[in-house]
Subunit: 348 residues, 2 copies
């Protein structure tokens, strides 16, 4: 097969977490929300469905941008909507990074970033987190062909985050755009939205998959200054968000009371999970996200993953070459967490 | 702004047809279906909605592929699903055409193709249709860096198509892959699906936007040999189709009786539109799609477009540099067509 671009042929391809379509699992492997979304979401989708699907959707999801602008305190033309925040990451990579150019990212972090670089035929440079999950100044150092930096904050798999002031400092030193991937920021104490106002090279992406319990709907967005949004619009597919997802996402972001209550429950359950794991002897990284990263001093993570899966509890086993492996466990309901902890108690 | 890739900064960006979000228009400008989709679609989406949106969707839309495989007579692993067929065109372009390489397309045709080349930083080469809307052998001639050819069949704006045997011949001569864009093939007498079996470099894309009346849902797909599909899967976003669109699309393709009846009505109305236009002195190209391309010998198309729009009838005015302009009128209901024809009668 020599028809494809070499970059495509040579890459292995990103493999998302397991999504069993049948069978009953306690699913703690892909950071989904264990609770259903705001009831307003289903009602809005019902209404959109009754209004009909024959027409193309609004190309820029204006209804969502208007509501989100109110909630986030930015003008609507600072917002770009995507078919999930993966679509946003794809658009941004395609807009900034050409063949042979350089994308920078921390390590270990979201594995998709390097696949996006590979698809572009671009180079990527991974900077290791320090032992305390901080990033050294070298993360902002100049480099030949450097065009874009991704910073997941909170990070996956660690659930840790850099303070906003530190992100501002790194962005200031960088000569290229910085995308702060805030897929998990609704579960954290801080976020970096204010940086977008002060630095035209900072972009913040958000997802409705986790905190709004809408992984199945595919909706995410980017906040950036309008000069950037205008260029990024050229790269997105014309109708990248469908009528039902626009309606659902608009209703979701409109229900901030639901978000606050969901966030409260997830953070309480995260505490329960972290303490439970620590009580079983796991090394647990304090998390600002809706998952917890852990290792046990005496048990191989892969074995634990397999043993849990055999009992129909799915967690995420992650193995980062030259760094190490561990388990990333999503925050489920208290019952799901207790079931997971009970199994682990019998395994360690 | 020098942060972006030069290719992105320099392009103007694709502008889709007008999608007025308010006001009452007879909308004959973007080839939407005037009838609602199969009732099975809404029921399936309702069920998917009740099943919940918290979980990620099936990454490869297996339920759709299984039903489509039956309907089309190809194995499920010959099908790649996309967030509209624009997503498919994007994936294919990114997979085959690198920076500086060459994409070939006929002219005039779907304006998006060249924007996809531009986003890639690729070159594109437009081959004019002959006066009878055929394509000369040069369309299959070798060229430096040629990596991909797009052939919309039926074509837009003309509604014309090349016979399957001619497409087979061109594909045979080409050394690179040929994507036959069959967005409108459900309204035509023939299609090129059988070519995929005989030539591993032929791909066929389809859309549910037009013939299944699901423009708002965003769902399209590609049929190609599995060796190609495997590589293309690396390029698509992990969860490019959402749970509701997968459910709706599966129900839609399952209802072939609805498709047959819809097709029958559209083709009958197309005849009514073509004859009506001809009766008013328009030059009308015989159409195999759900739209008609026409010009009037004595009236400027742009003026007619504006006059119709003032009366709240939207048609598409298209102006192709170095080729010419005209009106592309989508096939609406008989009532919509009659309203449009009545207005035109007063204008010509």
């Amino acid at each position: 097969m020599t028809l494809f671009r070499t970059a495509i042929e040579q890459m292995a391809g990103y493999v998302p977490g397991e999504q069993p379509q049948a069978g009953k699992f306690i699913k703690l492997n892909t950071n989904e929300n264990p609770y259903p979304p705001s009831p307003a979401v289903n009602l809005a989708i019902q209404r959109a469905l009754e209004a009909g699907l024959m027409r193309y959707p609004d190309p820029t999801a204006s209804s969502f941008r208007l509501r989100a602008a109110d909630v986030l305190g930015v003008p609507p033309d600072w917002i770009l909507c995507g078919n999930g925040s993966d679509d946003i990451l794809t658009i941004v990579t395609r807009a900034f990074v050409g063949e042979g150019e350089l994308l920078r990212l921390p390590y270990p972090s979201y594995v998709l970033y390097r696949e996006l670089a590979r698809i572009q035929g671009a180079r990527f440079e991974e900077h290791r987190f320090e032992a305390d999950w901080s990033l050294a100044d070298s993360f902002a150092a100049p480099a030949d062909g450097l065009r874009l930096v991704f910073l997941p904050n909170p990070n996956s798999p660690s659930g840790t985050m850099l303070p906003t002031a530190r992100v501002a400092e790194l962005a200031e030193r960088l000569s290229c755009p910085l995308l702060v991937d805030e897929a998990y920021a609704d579960f954290s104490d801080t976020h970096c939205l204010e940086l977008v106002r002060h630095n035209p090279r900072v972009m913040v992406s958000r997802s409705l998959s986790k905190s709004y319990a809408l992984a199945g709907l595919r909706f995410g967005f980017l906040v950036a200054q309008p000069e950037l949004i205008q260029q990024l619009l050229k790269v997105k597919d014309s109708y990248n968000c469908d009528s039902l997802s626009i309606a659902g996402a608009t209703a979701a972001i409109d229900d901030q009371a639901w978000l606050a209550e969901n966030r409260r429950r997830i953070i309480a359950s995260r505490q329960r999970l972290s303490e439970g794991l620590a009580g079983l002897g796991f090394q647990v990284v304090p998390s600002q996200a809706n998952f917890v990263w852990c290792r046990h001093p005496d048990r191989a993570p892969r074995t634990l993953y397999e043993q849990l899966k055999a009992e129909r509890v799915l967690v995420r086993y992650m193995d980062y070459p030259n760094w190490g492996d561990g388990l990333r466990i999503s925050v489920g309901t208290d019952d799901q967490i207790d079931a997971c902890l009970t199994l682990l108690r019998s395994l360690v």
